[in-house]
Symmetry: C2
Subunit: 346 residues, 2 copies
């Protein structure tokens, strides 16, 4: 491409095709539509927001709703077009060419995508063989490499591995490097293990509406940190970043977040059930605290899943095939279970 | 800020306070709510989009609707979170530190905001004394400085100055530099003067739903260019950039764009009327082809406007006060006219 900068010429952007037909278990979405009471209220209030006017660039109503939920101050919150746009902002704000960004492997691929936009170099600390976090190794590698930025996902995408708050505190206190703690899936783990109330200088916690709150279509996530770090993000963020409709609907979601508890419990229950089911089929499966399972994949199972128009996310890790399977409805989960069973049992 | 890169430490981001009360003529928004038929259809179709799923990252339905309107191909269209996010993407894709970006002065302040994010240096070619474009000067300065990027706004924000398509072609053919032609306000000027059908290698045309289409709250704009330039933007753009609700509503707007002709005519009619009115009051006012007027401001008028809770955009150009006044409804326009008249006549 004639006008594209040299350093981007070989860039392959993340891309996912839209799926219109089949069982969709590849994007860790919620299988549930938004609660009817929330949608009804949204439509009622929609006529009161002036879509001909620019949105509130300060996202006041939503920041206030979020801060009320967590008993923090609005000045400690900032919203983005999905939490990954905040990863983008933070990396843009902090990363110079050839700066080191420490993360684990495997983890969410967008960390690398954004890091590369700003010339950052991703340094990957491997997870343990069972895909659990190796806290001591992470701390040692941070000390050894002194990275500009550390990005950790808890629970981790795509493996579901989790860290305790105690371990997180240990990592944070071992370094002055800025740490992004991506808690996109924390609702499926345990709010008590969240770093959201720590407010340590070098910590930014990211959350999203795309997973537990089932609002991936709205593209909204938020960051929680010290006033200074929030100001840093807002210095880089585009004005009028959050559209008025998403702002309104996300505000209604967070104000009515109790409505989601049952759905979250459903997913956790299904995750536990499916883990046991797959285990009993002798599938190589790993402990997950998120809304997905992480397991070994072979060609036969892969083909059978494809043939049944079930969509899962496939990975190649050190030349072995794995897959990340989102937890869907009982019916969807059972359909997949049945397909996989038929491969194992015959 | 401890973690912010050195080069951003003095950055002052663009910020506009939310106005809840008064006459809002400061953001070049449409004074009209979206047509009821479109909103009704939107609410009807809203239940059919799965907000729990990620949006179509390829923005298929909207790109198709846009390309149909202009009789071009979907591969020549890309959508952004407001057209300014596309300015951001293009600058990120093309600008290296200390690269020159040629534009005019005064023009849309976000060009400079985004240029500075990527270390670009803005080179400003002055407009004529009457704020009209000096085409020969622009061409000479492009030849002299050989900029990496040229950004031109037609009609220009905040002055309303316009260029003919003939002049635009003259500028484009004078250089190999990439040119962003920002046509945010072209609907209030003349579609025949648009560069949208040129498809020249070094031209990207930007359009928005925020002005003539009255959908500033949805944050959606689009770029039209060669397949290669669109691919360049999409290489840099974040996945799932456009949320599902905005995508749907923008699609309905563009499919029903005839509904907006009357509104556009209303604004143009009011612009012409107000221009004559202000002229007859001996206000120093300039020719505008956009949905706003550009005029000289003095302290007395400024204070009176402020006192009446009328919001306009104020500028200081070479130590002289000017203002940009959006065209509102007849009632809003008359209220402002009355306020200004009272200053002039007493």
């Amino acid at each position: 491409m004639k006008y594209l900068k040299e350093e981007y010429q070989n860039r392959i952007p993340y891309h996912a095709k839209m799926i219109s037909d089949g069982i969709i278990l590849n994007a860790n979405e919620s299988p549930f539509p938004l609660p009817k009471t929330i949608m009804d209220e949204f439509i009622k209030q929609l006529s009161q927001i002036n879509l001909n006017r620019y949105p509130d660039t300060d996202v006041t109503i939503l920041n206030e709703a979020i801060s009320k939920k967590y008993n923090i101050k609005p000045e400690n919150v900032t919203c983005g077009v999905g939490s990954d746009s905040l990863i983008d902002c933070i990396m843009k704000a902090t990363i110079n060419k050839n700066d080191l960004i420490l993360t684990v492997f495997p983890t969410f691929s967008m960390y690398k995508q954004y890091a590369e936009l700003y010339g950052g170099i991703i340094y990957e600390v491997p997870l343990n063989d069972d895909f659990s976090y190796n806290i001591d190794l992470i701390i040692n590698e941070i000390k050894k490499t002194n990275p500009k930025l550390v990005v950790l996902c808890n629970p981790n995408n795509p493996t579901g591995s989790s860290m305790s708050l105690k371990d997180i505190k240990k990592i944070i206190s071992s370094t002055n490097s800025l740490i992004i703690l991506d808690e996109a899936y924390i609702e499926f783990y345990d709010e008590k293990e969240s770093g959201i109330n720590l407010f340590i200088d070098n910590l930014i916690v990211l959350r999203t509406f795309s997973k537990a709150y089932g609002f991936a279509g709205g593209r909204i996530g938020y960051g929680i940190s010290t006033k200074e770090n929030i100001k840093m993000i807002d210095t880089i963020k585009s004005p009028y970043f959050i559209n008025s409709m998403t702002m309104l609907l996300a505000t209604l979601i967070i104000k009515n977040n109790d409505l989601f508890n049952e759905r979250i419990d459903y997913i956790i229950r299904e995750r536990k059930r499916l883990y046991q089911e797959y285990l009993s089929l002798n599938i190589e499966i790993y402990q997950s605290k998120a809304n997905f399972l992480w397991m070994k994949l072979n060609d036969e199972i892969e083909n059978k899943i494809d043939d049944n128009k079930i969509y899962i996310r496939k990975f190649n890790i050190n030349n072995k095939k794995y897959c990340r399977i989102s937890i869907g409805t009982v019916e969807e989960n059972n359909k997949l279970l049945e397909v996989i069973s038929s491969c194992v049992k015959h």
